[in-house]
Amino acid sequence: MISPMASASGVAIVGVAMSDRFEPRTELPPSELVYPVVRDALADAGVSMDDVLSIVSCSQDIYDGRTISSMGVNEVLGGYLRSESKVAGDGLLALLYGAARILSGEYDLTVVVAHCMESISDLHVVENAAFDPYIQRPLGPDDTVAAALQAGAFYRASGLGPGDAAEVSARASEHATRNPRAFRATPHTAADVAASATVCGPLRELEGTPVTDGACALVLASPERAGEGAVWLRGIGNTTDTFWTDRDITDTGALRRAAETASAHAGLTASDCEVVETAARWAHEQLMHLPALGLDAHADVNPSGGQMGGCPKYVVGLARAAEAALRLRQGAVNALVHAPSGIANQQHTVAYLSRERG
């Protein structure tokens, strides 16, 4: 892959905002969740919507119950007469596309917004729609079933087990409890996890992620627009594996490759990063992903509480970048951000953020 990040150009993150604790807000339409987040990100960046010509949004139609789900939030995104396009996938893909719009030289500002309401639909049905329609969907699988199969296969292959995942979950809940922005407000112990209901063996209820709603927005800027205190996007990589049943679902080769791409752009490795935010919907996923990112499987990461602290699908990667950016503003120098997408984490996006432009 080619590395544009090493050139004179660069991409800065100058504004950050997220929904308040990603509380489920079934009584609101998406537009009323998205507007305050976009408005607050612009205010945080010190720019007006009048200065913005480019927006990248990210949402999934089947979750919103709305074909072209960006139309439902068009006006609050600032879409009127502006160039707004929508990607479908994890929010970090919108960051990739938004960064490309800045690096193309055509825009000096781009607002990137991801939004999703998990609370308004039957998640089992919408998740099932992503499976092969000919030979898989009729069996009724959903994301949880695929995650459970992956967890079982991973434990057999690695020698790690539910106890290790329970520790990850407990630590995540502690971090979330200390993060005023996180949904989870009470910690639990590894013993609590082991005692919680079996959702789909070997997965227990407490090691998963609660249902949440909300949006996250970042304001991206070119170096000319970025002021003091900007956080720099130093590198970003995305790699897709084959569909889950066409591969070994314990294999993390796609993640390793995405991480290598980002690392080569950034001139940074995981060990340079004080902050690591990696999305994992179930605790075992973190045990799988950390070694592929160049870290110990049991490393203490996700100071925000991570996805397990409560964050909607499709928003979660962008929210990890937002949390990392906020910690960089508070004094950390480098951050590693990661989110997967697709059944059994088929696709991965990895990014390096830094206080230093590099």
């Binding site: 009584e27 339409p29 006006e75 639909s121 729609a129 030979i135």
Partner: protein
């Protein structure tokens, strides 16, 4: 490599996807629907910067990117800005039933509003339905505070001497 052999009849897998959503109506809806139910009246949201009055109501003026600052009455009468008579069957997305055809359908600019709504018009002869005609709403006798409390619009027909 040998040619792929297709069966006599192509094989199809049938599936039915039932998607249920709870769509939040939002902060404007309660006020607006109460107006329909209690007063058979319409109100739109006002932009303090460009002074547009929006129907359907919305919290933000997308042109100015500022919050709307309140409600102003609009209508109840209005003017047709686009009209058709639909003759092709269509499944009503709310009831799942075929809507009986033909039926009149129009863009209507209620007096005082800056944007059009669309609604049914009680006229099925397209030669009698046109841009510029005046209409008034027809409310249901039994209203529940729902968007369908407005059944449709009737042409305001000139009464002869």
């Amino acid at each position: 490599m040998s040619e792929p052999r297709f069966p006599e009849e192509p094989l199809f897998v049938s599936a039915e996807l039932t998607l249920r959503y709870r769509y939040g109506a939002g902060s404007e809806a309660a006020h607006y629907l109460e107006g329909l139910k209690e007063r058979m009246a319409f109100e739109g949201t006002h932009c303090p910067k460009c002074e547009r009055v929006y129907l359907p109501p919305r919290p933000v003026c997308g042109i100015c990117y500022v919050g709307c600052d309140g409600w102003l009455p609009v209508g109840p009468e209005g003017t047709i800005t686009g009209a058709t008579v639909v003759e092709v069957p269509f499944v009503d997305p709310i009831t799942g039933e075929q809507r009986p055809v033909p039926y009149g359908f129009a863009f209507i600019l209620l007096d005082g509003a800056s944007t059009n709504i669309f609604h049914f018009v009680d006229e099925t002869d397209r030669r009698k339905l046109g841009v510029g005609m005046r209409v008034r709403p027809r409310f249901r006798a039994e209203r529940t505070g729902s968007i369908t409390d407005v059944e449709g619009f009737d042409l305001i027909r000139e009464e002869g001497p």
